[in-house]
């Protein structure tokens, strides 16, 4: 099993969620994060003082998936999140050794 983590632009969240739903995904966990990257952040001005705000609001998604699903899901997320402009974000995949559904105690792919 794998964990797919994606960092995307906040206003693409609805698209990504819809696309994952369509791809038959059963669950997602998302959080609000701040990203620093090539996208250059922005300047804020308070009483004449400029602050360089390096961090840009992003959404971080986690999706647990079986090995077979991974490739497709990465494509799905990527397609739904892409605007083509800098700052679209990253997707990365890490190995997962065990998954458990708390409610039932099910383990492995069934628990996803």
């Amino acid at each position: 099993m794998k964990l797919i983590t994606a960092v995307v632009k906040p206003f693409r969240l609805d698209e990504v969620k819809a696309a994952l739903k369509d791809a038959g995904i059963a669950g997602i966990t998302v959080g609000e994060v701040q990203g620093f990257g090539r996208q250059s952040g922005h300047t804020e001005v308070y009483r004449g003082t400029e602050y360089q705000i390096d961090f840009v609001p992003k959404i971080r998604l986690e999706v647990l998936a079986s090995d077979e699903q991974v490739e497709q899901l990465v494509d799905v997320i990527s397609a739904a999140a892409r605007t083509g402009k800098i700052g679209d974000g990253k997707i990365w995949v890490t190995p997962v050794e065990q998954v458990l559904r708390i409610r039932t105690g099910e383990q492995g792919p069934d628990a996803i």
């Binding site: 632009k9 206003f11 609805d14 701040q34 922005h42 300047t43 804020e44 001005v45 705000i53 961090f55």
Partner: protein, 409 residues
């Protein structure tokens, strides 16, 4: 006379306080990325419109008081002749009357910001409300409040059902037509980002509205007392009316419903406040709450994106209140009622007709004038921000600020 002055001093402060209240009422409902922009538009209305009022707006509205005409003229430009003496047959200094009326001139254009939320350029907004204030608000105020043709005709408007709410509501409609919907409207959910601010705004509006309505008596007398009572009970009844329908239709009562219902009641009672008795105020309020709730569906039907329901609350509420006065105006409450309302003993349809005429004319005039004005601005500098600005949010793009800082540690 000191008592009257004391009350109008206080009322002026109360009405000025309503504009920040409105800022938060609306601000809680927009998405957080546009919260400051909403606050900004409302606070800026104070800055710009107070100064414009002194320069020329007051003169256009209240020059040639009682002439039965269309336009006040330029006799009081720069507040010439507006001093601490009392004229105009009022028991308060001219400068106080001008201050009280200034607060109305400020909040009326600010009401529009609810409809245009999240996509109107700040520069275009500034130009629009400045021009609208002089070309639409001040003339209409002259017709109704300054003894202009509508007042002469016989229509009544205690505190601005037509001048304020119908007027602003029609302008909001015009801008919504010109602006088009928010990006993602109808596809993405855009729930209020933090209702507590909206409830706070509601509390401030309720509080300030006592100055708005009871202050419009321009005296501390029985009429002011009745207006205050009506301003207390009509929003309360409207809250019940709104929540009842909400409950019947949707199985739930919501906090935003309570707030919205109350504001609908404030709007509807505005033209009636000093002209009707307490029980009629309860009835007007209750019906206004129910009606404005039903009016929420209009925008869906006509396919408009009136972001925060200025049409359902202010236009519909204002129209309803203005017409309701034709049914409930009561000479026993206020001797200024020459033709009692239809449901009042001795009443007829004379007033009702006048009320409808006034409402329709103000609505039509404001709509057409606003469309023309908005269109010109759109052509010259553009009304709407670009897509990126809308995605990122107005706060960061236009005002280089954030409402809530990240990691301020």
């Amino acid at each position: 006379m000191e008592g009257n002055i004391a009350w109008v001093l206080m009322s002026t402060a109360l009405v000025l306080f309503m504009t920040p209240g409105l800022a938060f009422f609306y601000g809680g409902m927009v998405r957080s990325k546009n919260f400051l922009a909403m606050l900004m538009q409302n606070f800026f209305a104070i800055g710009l419109l107070a100064v414009l009022w002194v320069v020329v707006g007051y003169s256009i509205a209240f020059g040639r008081f009682g002439d039965g005409g269309w336009f006040g003229g330029f006799g009081h430009v720069g507040f010439k002749g507006v001093g601490t003496a009392a004229h105009l047959g009022l028991g308060i200094p001219d400068v106080l009357f001008a201050a009280f009326q200034m607060t109305f001139a400020i909040i009326t254009p600010a009401l529009i910001t609810g409809a245009t939320a999240d996509r109107l350029k700040f520069g275009a907004y500034a130009v629009f409300i400045g021009a609208w204030s002089l070309l639409v608000y001040s003339p209409v105020a002259h017709w109704v409040f300054a003894g202009g043709w509508i007042a002469k005709m016989g229509a009544l408007d205690f505190a601005g059902g037509a001048v304020v709410h119908i007027n602003a509501g029609a302008a909001a409609l015009a801008l919504v037509l010109l602006l088009g919907p928010r990006k993602g409207h109808g596809k993405e959910p855009m729930p209020p980002h933090a209702l507590p601010w909206t409830l706070l705004g509601t509390g401030i509006l309720y509080f300030g509205w006592f100055g708005f309505n009871a202050g419009s008596a321009l005296a501390a007398n029985g009429i002011a007392a009745q207006a205050l009572m009506n301003t207390l009970v009509a929003p309360a009844a409207a809250m019940l009316g709104w929540l009842l329908l909400e409950r019947v239709k949707g199985k739930h009562t919501t906090t935003l419903g309570a707030a919205s219902g109350a504001v609908a009641g404030m709007v509807a009672i505005t033209p009636c406040a000093g002209f009707v008795g307490t029980m009629p105020a309860v009835i007007i309020g209750f019906l206004a709450g129910a009606l404005c709730y039903l009016a929420l569906t209009i925008k869906a039907v006509v396919g408009l994106d009136d972001a925060l329901d200025v049409l359902a609350v202010h236009l519909v509420g204002g129209l309803f209140g203005s017409v309701a006065l034709g049914f409930f105006a009561d000479p026993a409450v206020n001797a200024a009622v020459r033709h009692p309302g239809l449901l009042i003993s001795g009443g007829g349809i004379a007033l009702l007709v006048d009320q409808v005429v006034a409402a329709v004319v103000v609505c039509g005039f404001s709509l057409v004038a606003s469309l023309i004005l908005g269109k010109i601005i759109d052509v010259v500098i553009g009304l709407r921000v670009d897509e990126d600005t809308e995605d990122v949010g107005l706060d960061q793009s236009l005002h280089v600020e954030s409402a809530y800082a990240f990691g301020d540690l």
